[in-house]
Structures are given as structure tokens and as C-alpha cells.
């Protein structure tokens, strides 16, 4: 324990700084993640994140396996939204190698990716509420995620680490009964669940008091620390790669980009980041409904790749919108069977870099709200 007196006049209420550990095994650290807290009573002087506990060397593994064989590893980058990680890698390889993807496969990808986004946001705001001590709403969110798991199981056989996308297409076509169940799910979410959930917790005074005006990030700071995705939009910046740099067939759908407006506090506070995720569930539902409607009935779902599969030498940076922000793959190929270098840029990694800055001077309890509202997933930070 380190003791130091701050530069304030000594009185009988003199204070003392204390260094505390939060994690690596702490329920509200979203995986194995450690924070070194410098506190002064209940006030936080600084919280320094210590990451790396889940470093599996995925980028090194990539250099030792063939291009297609890296796909299952991308599931493990962000296990909460694995389809989005698959999609980013597939899109990058396809653009570097110039592979055309059947139209139907693009629609299937969008449907799976948006379902994953919904499932991921349930974990995102559900875990935030759990961290704040509200256990029941978390269970409600997980109950709905169960239907998402069922749908993904129908689609690809897995309930976690789905590995649905392949280079050049997807692994399976829609099974019978999927369309009806999926439409029923998005209708239920839009018309029943979100309303009930908002009445239960979103407009709850205690929650508003815990989140509003806490952990405010203004747009300039967000940009400085390379914040992306819902965290950036929570600060009021209407930037979404699905609209601003469309990939797959996202340019064919109509959807809005919710941004933080300071609903109960100032723009960019924890409540805005929470609320943006709730609104994004509705937008994902809209995209899924349009995709199911527009999807061509027949056509292939996968381009067959030449064997052995090689990628022409070159470099490319492709980014996609994952539930945790910009998911970028920088690929370098030397023309061989394996990638020469794969760099994965994730939203959680950049979200962690801002914690040290915005945690200064907040209450210890608010730090939990800040970490939860940034929706970080530890394996995505460490890779």
C-alpha cells in the first residue's frame, strides 16, 4: 500500500491516498481485467487499467495458419458478437483477393450480423445494469438473448462462437422456419420487450441518477482517444460505418443512427451511451426486417475458392462496424498460403485508453458505471 499526502492544508480531516486493486477477478470488470485505483476516500484520483490477462497471441497464430483457417479464431476476438468479427475478416480478405460474394450470402451475413449486434447489446447494457446492482433487468436481457441463441443455432449449429461467415460467402442457407421465428423475434423486441424493459429500468429514477451526468465524454475527447461505435455516437457524433463507409449490402437499407442528446443529463454521459444501445436494437430490427424482405430466394451462398487458396501480395485496411465500434483488419499478404501479418483493431481496445482520463475525480462507484457504459469485452482488448 502506498501512502502519500496530497498538496492540501493539513487539518484534522486530512486525507490520504490509497492504492487499491480492482480485479483481475471482479464481477464488474467484464472479463479478466485489472484496474489499479488510486483513491482518496470515496473519490478517485486515477484508475489505471492493466490489460493482457487474456492475450492469446491471435495475431501470431494468424501467421501460422492458412487464410481460411484463421476464421474460427476471429470468433474468439469478441465472443459476444462473433459474426461481426467473422464478417470484418471475410470482407478484408475478399477485398484484398478480389473475390465476389453471391448476393444472397451478403444478405445472410447482414441478418446474422444484426442479430449478433442485438445479442451483443443485450449483454452490453444488461451487464452495465448488473454492475450497478440491478440483477433483474440483466436476467430479462439474457432471456431475450436466449431466442437469439436459438436462432443462431438454427442457422449454423452453434450457440456461442458461431463462425458463420466464410471467405466468399456463409456456411449455411436459411433453415426452414427461420424466417418466421426471426420476424416474430424482432416484432417481439420492438413492440413488447423494449417497451417493457424501458418501463422497468430505463426510466427508473435510481438508474437515471446513477448514469446521467456521469463520465461525460465530449466529441473532441472522444475523437482524440479514437473512440468509435456506440461510445462515439453517445457523445453526439453521428458516425456509423454502415452508413458512412458501407460494406456488404448495408447501402440498401434504411435506418437511422441514434446519437446521444443528453436525454437526462449532458450529451456524452453514461446514460447517453446506454440509451444509444437501446435505440440501436430497434434499428437493427429494422435492418433485419428489410433484409429478410429483399433477400433473393435463390442463388448460391458461397463462392468456391481455388485450391490451394492464396491471396495476391499486397496490403489493405478494411474496417467494419461491430457492436463495440470500429473493427478493422490490416492484412499483409506476401502471396503465400498464410497471412504475412494480421492486425486486428478493436473498439474495446481504444475504449480502454480513455478510462484513465475520464476516471479522474469521480466516485469509486461511478467508475463501475463508466466501465460498464463503455461496454468493453476483455478478450477483444487483449486478442
Amino acid at each position: 500500500m502506498q501512502r502519500a499526502l496530497r498538496g492540501m492544508p493539513m487539518s484534522k480531516y486530512s486525507s490520504q491516498e490509497m492504492v487499491l486493486n480492482m480485479g483481475p477477478h471482479h464481477p464488474s470488470t467484464h472479463g479478466v481485467l485489472r484496474f489499479v485505483l488510486q483513491t482518496d476516500g470515496e473519490m478517485m484520483v486515477k484508475a489505471v487499467p492493466d490489460v493482457g490477462f487474456l492475450h492469446r497471441g491471435i495475431e501470431k497464430i494468424a501467421e501460422r495458419v492458412p487464410w481460411q483457417a484463421f476464421m474460427p479464431y476471429t470468433d474468439r476476438i469478441d465472443y459476444v458478437a462473433s459474426v461481426n468479427c467473422n464478417l470484418g475478416y471475410a470482407a478484408a480478405v475478399e477485398r484484398l483477393a478480389g473475390i465476389a460474394v453471391p448476393e444472397k450470402a451478403e444478405y445472410l451475413r447482414v441478418i446474422a450480423a444484426e442479430l449478433s449486434r442485438i445479442g451483443s447489446h443485450f449483454i452490453g447494457f444488461g451487464a452495465l445494469l448488473l454492475d450497478l446492482g440491478a440483477v433483474t433487468p440483466f436476467v430479462h436481457a439474457l432471456r431475450e438473448r436466449e431466442t437469439f441463441n436459438d436462432l443462431m443455432e438454427m442457422l449454423c449449429g452453434a450457440r456461442l462462437t458461431h463462425n458463420y461467415v466464410r471467405i466468399g460467402g456463409v456456411s449455411h442457407d436459411l433453415p426452414p422456419g427461420f424466417r418466421e421465428k426471426c420476424l416474430g423475434f424482432v416484432d417481439h423486441l420492438e413492440h413488447e420487450f423494449l417497451e417493457e424493459f424501458n418501463d422497468l429500468i430505463s426510466f427508473n429514477t435510481i438508474l437515471i441518477n446513477r448514469l446521467a451526468n456521469v463520465g461525460v465524454i465530449d466529441p473532441e475527447t472522444a475523437n482524440k482517444y479514437t473512440l468509435t461505435g456506440p461510445n462515439l455516437r453517445g457523445s453526439g457524433v453521428p458516425f456509423d460505418l454502415r452508413r458512412d463507409e458501407p460494406y456488404s449490402v448495408y447501402d440498401r437499407f434504411r435506418f437511422d443512427i441514434p446519437v446521444g442528446t443528453g436525454k437526462f443529463g449532458v450529451p456524452g454521459d453514461c446514460y447517453d451511451r446506454y440509451w444509444v444501445r437501446i435505440l440501436e436494437v430497434t434499428e437493427s430490427c429494422r435492418i433485419i426486417r428489410q433484409a429478410l424482405e429483399q433477400m433473393p430466394g435463390d442463388g448460391g451462398i458461397r463462392t468456391s475458392l481455388p485450391r490451394p487458396f492464396t491471396v495476391p501480395a499486397g496490403e489493405i485496411y478494411v474496417r467494419t462496424e461491430s457492436p463495440r465500434g470500429e473493427l478493422g483488419y490490416y492484412l499483409i499478404s506476401d502471396g503465400g498460403k498464410n497471412p504475412f501479418r494480421v492486425k486486428v483493431r478493436t473498439g474495446s481496445f481504444s475504449a480502454m485508453t480513455i478510462v484513465e482520463t475520464i476516471s479522474q475525480g469521480v466516485m469509486v462507484a461511478d467508475l463501475v458505471a463508466i466501465i460498464g457504459s463503455l461496454d468493453v469485452v476483455a478478450p477483444e482488448i487483449d486478442r
Binding site: 493482457g52 495475431e59 495458419v65 483457417a69 479514437t226 478494411v318 492486425k343 485508453t353 480513455i354
Partner: protein, 173 residues
């Protein structure tokens, strides 16, 4: 502004400072610079009125076997364009200036590059290992990295499993 126009403009305005400006796949422009002019080029791209590459998307290090490189991906929300800056480094003594003062968010990225490649960033405020333990030896993402036999007395190789995998396992490596 379309891709060719941006490349041409960068070529003209940066003529002295850069080695080359090329088009890259995925609507991207690659600017290869000498490491000594890395900061000034990044500063120009960020602060120029017409360009405004104020967002740092990504940073990575690369080991090209004969030399190393640092790569920065920048984005301009104004032009909706991407630029990739690359600086090659000497493999014997990989050192590059830090971009931390320009883009505070790059701090952790550069720490990761230092951690995994051993590239030193001159002027970085907190250049420590990020992902690996502080007593780790070597830099794993270098191409000539040799896997350690043990770490702090714990064996890291399970020879029996590797033997069983045999030739089938080797085909994948």
C-alpha cells in the same frame, strides 16, 4: 474529392517530405515517409485546412524480415478519405518518433507495438509492455522469434501432444 485527385494533391504538397505516394486498395492512399519526417507529415495531414485527417483509426508495426515498419491509418471525416502513413525502420535498431502529442489515443497502440515488436518510440510518455508480463523476454511478433521453452520455471511445451499430432500438425504450421 476522388482518390486520384487526393493522391496527386498529396504528391504535390508533400513532394520533399515523402518517399512516395501510392494508391492502395479499398479507397486508401499510402504515403511512405522517412522516419525523420513522420511527425511533420502527420502534423500536416492533421492540421491542414483542406485535409483534416484528425482521426487516428489504427496503428501497427510490421516485421518485413529485412526491415521493420510502423504504419498509421488516418481518417478525414471532412473528405471521407483514408490515408496510410508508413515509415520503414532499421531492423538492427528499430526506433521511431512517437505520434502521441498529435493523437493521444495512439499511446496504447504504440505500447503494444513496443511490446510485441520491440520498436522503441522516442518521446513516448509511458513506453512499457502492455499485453505481456514485464519480465517476458523477446518480442513475439518478430519473424525470427523463438518460442521459449519455459517461463519462470513453467514448461511451455508439451512434447507428447506435439509428437502425437505428427505430420498432420506440421502441414498447418
Amino acid at each position: 474529392m476522388d482518390q486520384a485527385k487526393l493522391s496527386e494533391m498529396l504528391r504535390q504538397r508533400l513532394s520533399d517530405a515523402v518517399v512516395s505516394v501510392e494508391d492502395m486498395k479499398n479507397d486508401d492512399t499510402l504515403v511512405v515517409v522517412d522516419k525523420d519526417s513522420l511527425v511533420s507529415v502527420a502534423e500536416f495531414l492533421k492540421n491542414d485546412r483542406d485535409l483534416g485527417f484528425t482521426t487516428l483509426m489504427n496503428h501497427l508495426g510490421v516485421d518485413y524480415r529485412d526491415r521493420m515498419a510502423v504504419i498509421y491509418n488516418l481518417y478525414s471525416a471532412r473528405l471521407r478519405k483514408k490515408v496510410t502513413i508508413k515509415a520503414y525502420l532499421d531492423r538492427e535498431k528499430p526506433e521511431a518518433p512517437t505520434l502521441e502529442p498529435l493523437f493521444p489515443g495512439v499511446s496504447w497502440y504504440e505500447r503494444e507495438t513496443y511490446d510485441l515488436f520491440g520498436i522503441r518510440f522516442i518521446g513516448h510518455g509511458n513506453l512499457k509492455r502492455l499485453l505481456l508480463p514485464e519480465d517476458w523476454e523477446g518480442f513475439p511478433l518478430r519473424k525470427d522469434y523463438v518460442y521459449p521453452e519455459s517461463y519462470n520455471g513453467i514448461e511451455t511445451k508439451r512434447s507428447d501432444l506435439l509428437d502425437a499430432a505428427g505430420a498432420a500438425g506440421d502441414a498447418h504450421v
